[in-house]
């Protein structure tokens, strides 16, 4: 049975995606910074769906380790899903460059470093799929979270270029742009119910979009139109807004 590699597997969204792929018949490689923290989800998936789940330690900001990590996988995966995301506190990122750097590396540089390696492998094999969890926050910079947003914007642009490069080889690249999702990252925010997706719904959307060979997925779908409006607000108005 085929393996799917899920990076950043400890997040609520990644856990839901892992369960979805296991349910649909895939074995899993789960990677996260602290491998011990993957034990409960790995055990959960084995108990539910009787798949093989292997856990790996991977720090996405430790760039030098990526090559050896990828080479250490027992069997090359059929696809990779990177769900690493670190929002941090916007205010901290403004005054503390360490923090700012961490946000950029977690959301952008680290993903680039790892996906470069994987893309080369998939390109040579002429098969595979790459799913990057970006964010609607990358569609336009807002004062509330533009450090995070700009890193996601860069990641979105990277995925777009990668899709363009790999098109001829048949390797699929899917950019996922979730809006609000009810996870640990957002549990203290008061989110509007109708715009907020549950992680399970995001997972089902990701699986279905990936299987259908889609390029860009907004989830919930309504975010495509919300962001269309936000992107089209003229800058001279936008700069005055607090949204």
């Amino acid at each position: 049975m085929k393996y799917v590699l899920i990076v950043g597997a400890k997040s609520d969204m990644a856990k839901a995606i892992a369960r979805e792929y296991a349910k649909q018949g895939f074995n899993l490689y789960l990677a996260a910074r602290n491998v011990n923290e993957l034990e409960p989800i790995s055990n959960d998936i084995t108990t539910r769906f009787q798949r093989v789940v292997q856990c790996f330690e991977l720090d996405l900001t430790d760039f030098d380790s990526h090559e050896s990590f990828y080479n250490s996988l027992p069997e090359k995966p059929a696809g990779v899903i990177t769900a690493v995301g670190y929002m941090g506190e916007q205010k901290n990122s403004e005054v503390d460059f360490e923090e700012c750097h961490q946000v950029i590396d977690s959301n952008y540089t680290g993903n680039v470093c790892l996906l470069n390696i994987i893309a080369n492998d998939f390109e040579a094999r002429r098969e595979g799929f790459i799913v990057g969890i970006s964010s609607v926050a990358g569609d336009r910079g807002r004062k509330a979270n533009y450090i995070y947003g700009s890193a996601k914007a860069a990641f979105t642009a990277y995925l777009s270029g990668l899709r363009n490069r790999l098109y001829d080889t048949g390797v699929q690249v899917l950019t996922v742009k979730p809006g609000f999702v009810a996870t640990k990252m957002t549990e203290n925010m008061d989110l509007p119910e109708n715009l907020t997706a549950q992680p399970e719904q995001v997972a089902a959307d990701v699986f279905s979009a990936q299987q259908k060979g889609k390029d860009i997925l907004y989830t919930k779908w309504v975010w495509r139109y919300i962001m269309l409006i936000i992107k089209n607000i003229p800058e001279f108005i936008f700069k005055r807004l607090s949204i």
């Binding site: 609520d12 349910k23 409960p40 989800i41 055990n43 959960d44 108990t47 539910r48 769906f49 009787q50 640990k184 549990e187 008061d190 109708n194």
Partner: protein
Amino acid sequence: MKLSGWGNYPQIESTQYNFSSEEQLCQIVEEHQSMAAFGNGRSYGDSALAKNSIVMKNHNYFLQFDERNGVLEVEAGVLLAEIIEAFAPRGWFPKVVPGTKLITVGGAIASDVHGKNHHVSGCFSESVISFQLLLADGSIVECSRDENKPLFLASCGGMGLTGVILRAKLKLKKIKSNAIVQTTIKTENLKETFEAFERYKSQPYSVAWIDCLAKGSSIGRCLLNFGDFAQDQKFDFVQKKKLNIPFNFPSFALNNLSVKAFNWLYYHKVLNKKSTKKVSIDSFFFPLDAIDNWNRIYGKNGFTQYQFILPLAESYKGLEEVLSAIAESGKGSFLAVLKLYGKENDNLLSFPMEGYSLALDFKMEPGLMPLLEKLDQIVIKYGGRIYLAKDSRMSQSTFESGYPKAEEFRALRKSYKLTDKFSTLQSQRLGI
């Protein structure tokens, strides 16, 4: 944030507490009063509405499964839907499921839910081997029929008032198919309905939909569904795409006329006196789960589900009286569900007793409360009781006459210092 049960009535301002470890939960419990665990919000009334809510839904890890005896251990926030999704294709099924699978295991234990097979398999607690319970002092105890039995008997059906259920071991049953062979019997009146229940008592699953707007000689006419898992060894369970009701219907959408029309059509669409077909697990057990947020058809004022049970010997007379009172009032219910129950268990506050239960949905509107109070009087007169998991309005005296072990439950709460620590709108209203 605003919190309400499935009936959207009543609403309460409640603070949500998430936790990521047991230590953190212990600390939350130590520091607060008036708490209750909140699962997936499917109990109808105010039984899970507390000033401080402990959010359980995210605690949904499967812990272990023993293929030899079908014992599954899960965290309390796991939904029955998740168990069915994972295990129905492997030939296992929960021993007891209620009319929705979108409830947590913790909630199923706390309400000691029951289903179409109560008359042969009892309540959900029959499938519970043990669970771990967090008490008021922050200690975690194992509860089973051998260990801490008083806490076990109080917690099964205890509406979350004995502490926080963290994990549970459940026994699943073997099934030979993911399809159900269902038979529908159409009856003309209450007498025929009772005879049909008696005749098909040996069938493992049975339930009847009653046309509660029928009057006179047609009173109590019904469609009785019964059935069992097929034997075809086909395990092809798939989750169907769901419909959604995206917003509250305007409150006039469900009126006397539309409910009457629905009841008439529903009853008359079945032409044969008896018909048999193969149906899916979802359509047999959980027909309403196919529509997300179906509670919104009752509008923003919400609704209440009135479910009562009467002892076997009094059931016929009592039901006749209740159905007449409802038909007279003209306040129809979309869903009137009648069911024959088996023996009562030893739990202190479990709802079922041997007899017949009827469940009715009523939109919240002026004039409803007096009708329900009138029904309460009939239920009490015949020695019946009202289901706590659905209730949002009964009085303390109605509760006490229906639940003879209420005092024992109160005493246990007091002795474990649970009374102020864990309390809900319902427990305060009923003085539990």
